[in-house]
Each structure stands twice: as C-alpha cells, then as structure tokens.
C-alpha cells in the first residue's frame, strides 16, 4: 500500500513556551497548561503514518489536541515543531512545514480536503452551494465555466444533494444537507487526503448514519486516505481502521480500532470505552 502521510513529533504550543513545557504537562500531570510559563501545550510528539485508502481515527475529549493536530496538517495553524511528509499520487514527497505559504496553499488546494464540524467554517454562506464548489475548483485552476458547472453537478449528485438546489444559498439547507455540500466541496479536487473534523457531531442520528455511509462509500470508491477526528466512539468504530487516543495533547494509546475498543490498555481509554457503553 502506498504511504500518503508520515507525521513525526508534531507539537503545538500556544503561548511563549519554556524549556519545561513538555516535562510539566501531559496526562501524568493532569494538565496541558505549563505551570511555569502558562503556555498551553495543545499537542506534543504526535507521530503516525497514513496509507492510501485508510481511515485513521483520532479520538479524545475536548481540548485533548485532536483538532489542533489536524489544523496544523491542513495549514490552518503553524505547528511549533515537528515534521510531516506528504506523498502525492505520483509518489513525490512534500515536506509540509518547510514550504512557503503559497506552496502550502497550492498543495492544500490540489491534494487535501477538509470538512469541519461547523459548516460555517467550510462553506461561504454568502454564495450558492454550486459557487462553494466552484471556489474550490477555481483554486485548483479549473477555469472553464461549463466544466465547473458539470463538475459541481456531479459532486452534488454524488453526495445526494438535489442538483435543482445547486444555485441556492446554503443557509436555506438543513444541517445534514450543509454537511453534504461541505463534503462535495472537499471532494471537488479529488483529494488524496481528506480531513474530517467532527463531521457528524450535532446532526440527528439518521442523518449521521447517512453521512457516515457516504464517507465509507467515498473511501471504497476513491481510496482516499482520511483522518477522522471525533469524540464519538460509534463513529470511530464504524469508520476507522486504526485509532490514536489523545489526552492533554499527548497520544496515550494507538493501534487497531478493534483492539483499542475491545482491549483498552491506558486507564483513560478504559474509562472512555466503559462510559460509552
């Protein structure tokens, strides 16, 4: 299997940071705020590999750093330290954090997709659903109007949004529909790597199930590698083959999802799994 992403020792500290930040925080200290300099260690030493067609789950409570890790990889925020290598479909290596902002944006536009929990972050509510997808296509240098129209139509059909509503503003859509438009937008450039940040949180159960089905179908069809961030064990169980469990910015447990959910090793994971049942 072709490797898509290699992340090593990714760290993100908010605040001035000091030499003791990493030794005085973490699960063993029960905090992610450095007692000396009051910096917040949002993520530290996060390392993992991701292969084509694989879904990696990142699980943890709010504030555990799971979203921060993904934001760094999608260039929403610069990391404090660490390295990440992305391998595109041709096997070419891209060192994510050493390239300049323009290259980063180019790479994210062409090879990455992101679906946020809140559609307001992923969609522009001032323009039509089709326009949102068009924006994504225009970013990746598709410049023919007819092609943009037909690609947007295709994508909305794929994500089961009525194409008659393509020229409507997303604010007229239900939450589930907005999420589908967001997924269509993220898929517009046929990304090699898709980030899903709490995509089903806040949706009702039947809509959740439909969205999760859609994600699995996309994984099967397009063999897109995905990183799924969630605190929902059901989502992890259904989607992810492998899972990282994070707490106070550290990865406390990682492995096959079945293993982690059936035989959790770390006390926190045990509590998490027990409380979910």
């Amino acid at each position: 299997m072709h490797k898509v992403l290699n992340v090593s020792s990714l760290s993100k500290v908010y605040g001035p940071g000091c030499s003791d930040c990493f030794t005085l925080t973490g699960p063993q200290h029960d905090t992610n705020i450095c007692p000396r300099c009051k910096s917040v260690v949002a993520a530290h030493n996060v390392s993992f590999d991701l292969y084509q067609g694989e879904i990696l789950g990142i699980m943890g409570e709010s504030g555990s750093g799971k979203s921060t890790a993904v934001k760094c990889l999608y260039f929403d925020e610069p990391p404090s330290s660490g390295r990440a290598m992305f391998f595109d479909a041709t096997g070419k290596q891209h060192d994510l954090f050493s390239m300049n902002a323009a290259r980063q944006r180019w790479l994210a536009n062409h090879h990455f997709g992101m679906v946020y929990q809140n559609p307001h972050l992923g969609l522009n509510f001032g323009i039509t659903a089709g326009g949102n997808i068009a924006e994504r296509l225009l970013m990746s240098e598709v410049d023919s109007y007819t092609e943009i129209r037909s690609r947007a139509k295709e994508l909305l059909t794929r994500t089961e949004v009525l194409t008659e509503r393509m020229d409507e503003l997303p604010k007229n859509f239900s939450g589930g529909m907005q999420q589908r438009v967001q997924i269509a937008k993220a898929l517009a450039t046929q990304p090699n790597l898709l980030f899903l940040d709490e995509v089903t949180t806040g949706l009702d159960l039947s809509v959740q199930a439909a969205i999760l089905d859609l994600i699995l179908e996309i994984q099967q069809e397009m063999t897109t590698a995905m990183i799924v961030v969630t605190h929902d064990l059901g989502v992890i169980r259904l989607l992810a083959g492998r899972t990282l469990v994070m707490k106070y910015g550290r990865v406390i447990e990682s492995g096959l999802t079945d293993q982690i959910l059936e035989d959790p090793q770390h006390a926190y994971t045990q509590r998490l799994v027990a409380s979910a049942l």
């Binding site: 089709g130 410049d143 023919s144 109007y145």
Partner: protein, 293 residues
C-alpha cells in the same frame, strides 16, 4: 515655509517620494505600492492621488490634458487643470489627446491610441479589487502575494449563474503581467482592452487609500474571465441590432454616453470622449466606422 511657492505645489521631498513609489509600481506591474499620500487643498476623493502623481511628474516643458469622464470641461477637470496651471508655471495645457505629454483622467482612457512618449494618470477611488470579497487588508495582501484570486472568480461565477452574464460594468478586475490583479479605476469595460500592451505608461493614484500602481507599456493586461466565457465590452446596439452612432460626429466606434434630450425627452447618444468627438466633427476625412448619420 519659504515665501516662494515650490513648483508643483508639493515640496521636492514629497515629489521624490511619489516618484520613487511610481518607479516601484512600474517595476512590479500591478502591485499596489503604499505611499504617504499628502494633504492636498481639496478633499480626498476628488482625485488627490492622481493629482499628486501629476504634480510629481510634470516639468515646465510638459503639455497637460485633464479629463473627467472623457470631458475636458467638467467641473472636476477644469478645477484640477487650473490648480496645476497655477502651481506649475510654464506648462502648457491642451484638450487635444495627441498634443498632450501627460494626461490626468478620471473614469476614461481616451479613444485615440496613446503613444510611447505619453503618460496617463488615472484617479482611483478603490485600488484593491479584492475589497469586494475580503474586508481585511492584511488578508488581502496575503491573497495578492499568493495570487489567490479564486474568490473574485467565484463572484463572476455567481453572476453567470444568476444573470448568464458577468455584470461588472466598470472597475473590471484585470490581471497584469500574469500576476497581480488590479482595479483599473472606474473605467468602463470598453477601456480595459486599451491597457493591454499599451504604448503609453498607465499610472494609477489612490490618494485616500494611499496607493500607487501601474501598467507599464507593452505589458499583458487580461480581464479576469472563464476560458469559455469571453470578455465582452459594451456593444451599444439599438433595438434592431445596429450600432448606435454619436449624434454629433456620427462615430460608431467610440464609447457613447446616454442622455435624455431636455426639450424633446428623446434618448440621445454621444461620444463620451469630448476631444475624439471634436476631432471627428472637424476633420473632413473620417476614419472607418464613421458615418454622417
């Protein structure tokens, strides 16, 4: 302050700074160069950016033409011209495009093709085309730096969806030298193609927004469009599909202004470029496209 008013109203240091900014603008086509826009004895928004450029560039051997929406005789043009005449003793002024070495203009580029030895200065209210889609100047600067113009194109897309046509009538976003997209000031679409590989240097001055930018001669200037939706200029066709003509000179190849005749109530059309109209009316040999309708 010395009792002698300095040539060109601005002091030499101010003029030097404006010139340096203009040189930088020429060196980086389409890039908005920030400069320290001076207080002028007129309100910002009345062409202070263009005026500062003109006053910094003009020399006593220069021949100046000032136009406002194509007209040499409108209030704005007349007042700017007389101010420049007053503060720059020795310069010549003209209304003839061909005779001018320096042209300050608002909202139009003259119909008559400009030459290499001419400079046109345009007054700019809003220098940044991205202001439509991004309110933060910090972010806009970054977007320009990364050539991130997709959101402007989305605006065109939305126009196409709603109206089957791009509805921007003036200030049409134009990409210069394959890089920066600029706001060509409120010139009509008609004038946008004139910027492409223009023989004359085109300078833009935004006094209130404190920016100077340029389209150097012989530089690509391409309006933003989709590959399958060509850029269109105003067509001035009447109900039967024929091209309307100017009621004074009969020209069918110029940008027309629409008026309502105050006596008859009829809608009439005439050349927006007053000098062009005048020249055509007086010349006996009319160029192609002109009829005596």
């Amino acid at each position: 302050m010395s009792s002698v008013q300095s040539f060109g109203y601005l002091d030499e240091y101010a003029k030097k700074e404006v010139r340096r900014s203009a040189l930088k603008a020429v060196a980086i086509p389409g890039y908005q160069v920030p400069y320290s826009s001076r207080e002028m004895p007129m309100g910002r928004g009345f062409g202070t950016g263009g005026l500062q450029l003109t006053l910094s560039l003009i020399g006593s051997q220069e021949t100046l033409k000032v136009i406002d929406q194509g007209s040499d005789d409108s209030v704005n043009a007349v007042n700017l011209r007389s101010f420049i005449e007053m503060t720059c003793p020795g310069i010549d002024t003209t209304t003839k495009t061909a005779e001018a070495s320096l042209i300050q203009s608002r909202h139009r580029i003259p119909e008559q093709p400009l030459r290499e030895d001419q400079i046109i200065v345009l007054q700019v209210p809003y220098p940044d085309p991205l202001v439509l889609v991004e309110p933060s100047e910090d972010k806009r600067k970054q977007m320009h730096g990364e050539m991130d113009y997709s959101r402007l194109l989305v605006k065109l897309y939305e126009d196409m969806v709603r109206f089957d046509e791009i509805t921007i009538s003036h200030r049409y976003p134009t990409r210069i030298n394959g890089q920066y997209v600029l706001d060509p000031s409120p010139i009509p679409r008609w004038d946008v193609p004139k910027m492409n590989h223009s023989n004359a240097l085109i300078l833009f001055g935004a006094g209130r927004e404190k920016k100077i930018y340029a389209v150097p001669p012989y530089t690509d200037a391409e309006p933003l469009v989709f590959s399958d939706v060509p850029f269109r200029v105003e067509d001035f066709s009447d109900a039967s599909g024929g091209r309307r003509a100017c009621r004074i000179c009969g020209c069918r190849s110029s940008f027309l202004d629409e008026y309502s005749d105050s006596r008859t109530g009829e809608t009439v059309y005439q050349c927006s470029d007053a000098d062009w109209c005048e020249e055509l009316s007086q010349s006996t040999e009319k160029p192609a496209g002109v009829s005596n309708a």
